[in-house]
Amino acid sequence: MYYISAASTISHQPAFLNPGFSGMIEPLHAGSALINPDYKEYIEPGLLRRMSKILRMSVACSGACLKQGGIEHPDAIVVGTGLGCLLDTEKFLNHALTVKGLLPPTSFIQSTHNTMAGQISLSLGNHGYNMTHTQNSVSFENALLDAMLLIDEGEKHILAGAADEHIALLDEISKQLNVRSDSRFTSGASFFILSAEKSDQTLAGIKDAEAVGLVKNIPEQITAFLDRNNVSPEDLDLVLYAGSIVGTEDEEKGFQSFWKMENLHVINYLKYSGIYPTASAFALHFAVDKMQHTRSLKNILICNSLIQHNLGLILVQSVEA
């Protein structure tokens, strides 16, 4: 078991510094916007002035997470991002293709995917392991797996998280490509402290996680994952999902009929987070928060097939005090 000793999220939902948010939030409505905290509380003005949305979210969110966990220096910083720093990437791409003459360098510097992890290490003065994973819809799961591997190797506290930012072009792309969805594109960042040992701080545990690329048979993978962890479908108190596991129109029914459990509690987390490649990190915070406030929840499975050919699985378990 890997222990979560702190969790923090900045998103379209009022999750930031708001324990118990999972019990009070509503599905996102069409006009929702990113809820920005006062970034000045977390980031020096000299650094803040250059930062795009994703950088502000990441540095503030991870800062609050470390504070909550009472950890000054994590042993490692591991970040997942599906699309990276889109605002700065689009800005520099635009400049590079349209401006004749000298180009301002800031957006280029901040266009690389490792800017979040780099800025976090810079803001902390942290010299530890620093990594950025980018595997579209399973970027967060891959970051989480790296954090778990670091714990297996003997590290104590890992700062692991994910962030993605929305730009207007994404909406246009999805319209042009006829991507049909009930949910809309959003931005979000979630960070966690993953610890080797249980403590007073422990919020919940991660029993196991998996990221499967070019997955051939989603139901089979889920069954094998649960078997490996000695958990039967009947043990699951809640399934948080994105995308359809069996390719049916009614995704919720898909899960229930797959396990022949009509009363299985399933929630499409994208309705709450909106769509971004690392929304499963929001789902993990949502699960952890729910467990904190509903003691009867023992096992929550996060099942991410946001992109049909990739599958992310996270098994969250409650930890006895």
Binding site: L97, L103, L214
Partner: protein, 394 residues
């Protein structure tokens, strides 16, 4: 603690295969030449791969309509490293690639059309995200399951190798193809120009007169296997990966610290992990980009780690240009070749040592001394520093 390397593949400005790269290294022949993009008349020096997209695409036999140059280069190197490896349900196989630009070459084409208001094909953007680059390579090789992409700027390739080794050591996988790929793009060329560290002349790593880097493009992959996998594959071990480390410089967004903190930590920890003593390092394949800042910082770090006994070192970026996320992997392949062929590569274009440190890289190919252990450095933007130690023994 060590991991076996049983396959290597590389595509760079100095060749389209391991053999071609080795020959150019032996002949001290650089691949950096005047270059311009098709839609632009600006000429600059770069290490372009001497193969066009249509040629690479035809050879790859891919069915994909849109495929980025980054993927095409990666696929070629990955195929060479993977060899005739067969899928086996008992052998858990993964792939970790590194890229910084992903499908940016395609995105640039799209964005140009988009800005012009001409018929931009939005489907082209399917290749933009870095992860899709790796997925495409995996799909062509028939790998599924553990598919991951790292993006830590110029240290990405080294980090992919390190993560692969860790997954084998922890028993998560039996065999993993690790490496990196990046194509030349307008985006990166303009980016390094905007930082005023793109040298308009041939780059001169570790030289007092250095003024910046020349970009290159390329890809390289290594196949790492555990004993179980080798029993199935029968592959010969080419060299061992003995040590690895990743440390953050945490100094500045782009610049390396003058005292080389992150670089020193990465080298020290990697050497310590390898169990090989610093005096046993035969050769250092330096990061050596040719920028004022990196080369000074790295030189200081070298003296921090080795004192006045700095081993023979050189930067092969004077051959290939800086291939960004591929660099760590390309130079890992060169490190394996150095061990296999007892070679220490020259640092082309060097004449005057850096005043502050006085360190002199190797300037003429050395083929007479045995090369048992090689340290390879990869340092990147955002303070991401990684070092790897390769050797001829477990």
């Amino acid at each position: 603690m060590s991991v076996r390397i049983t396959g290597i593949g590389v595509v760079s400005a100095i060749g389209l295969s391991v053999q071609e790269n080795l020959l150019a290294l032996k002949e001290s022949r650089t691949g950096i030449m005047p270059f311009s993009f098709l839609d632009d008349d600006k000429i600059f020096l770069a290490g372009a791969v001497k193969a066009t997209n249509p040629v690479l695409k035809k050879e790859s036999k891919t069915q994909s309509q849109f495929i980025s140059r980054t993927t095409l280069l990666g696929l070629k190197a990955a195929r060479e490293a993977y060899g005739n490896a067969k899928q086996h349900n008992q052998i858990r196989t993964g792939i970790i690639s590194a890229t910084s630009v992903g499908g940016m070459d395609q995105s640039e084409q799209f964005y140009n059309a988009y800005l012009d208001g001409t018929d931009a094909d939005f489907a082209m953007l399917g290749t933009h995200d870095s992860g899709s680059t790796t997925e495409r390579i995996a799909a062509e090789l028939g790998i599924s399951g553990y598919i991951n992409t790292l993006s830590t700027a110029c240290s990405s390739g080294a980090n992919a190798i390190m993560l692969g080794a860790r997954l084998l050591m922890q028993g998560k996988l039996d065999r993993v193809l690790v490496g990196g790929t990046d194509a030349l793009t307008n985006f990166t060329v303009n980016g390094f120009r905007s930082l005023m560290i793109y040298d308009e002349q041939w780059c001169r790593p570790f030289d007092e007169s250095r003024e910046g880097l020349n970009l290159g493009e390329g890809a390289a992959f290594l196949l790492l296997e555990n004993e179980k996998s080798i029993r199935f594959s029968g592959n010969r071990t080419l060299a061992f990966l003995n040590g690895w480390a990743n440390a953050a410089d945490a100094f500045h967004q782009t610049a390396s610290s003058p005292e080389g903190k992150g670089a020193t930590l990465a080298m020290q920890k990697a050497i310590e992990k390898s169990g090989i003593s610093p005096s046993q390092i035969s050769y250092i394949n330096a990061h050596g980009t040719g920028t004022k800042n990196n080369d000074l910082s790295e030189s200081v770090a070298l003296t921090n780690v080795f004192g006045d006994q700095v081993p023979a070192f050189s930067s092969t970026k004077s051959f290939t240009g800086h291939t960004l996320a591929a660099a760590g992997a390309v130079e890992a392949v060169f490190s394996v070749l150095a061990i296999q062929n007892q070679l220490i590569y020259p640092n082309i274009n060097f004449s005057t040592p850096i005043t502050e440190t006085g360190l002199e890289p190797v300037t003429i190919l050395q083929a007479e001394k045995p090369v048992h252990a090689v340290l390879s450095n990869s340092f990147g933007f955002g303070g991401n520093n990684s070092s790897l130690v390769f050797s001829d023994h477990a």
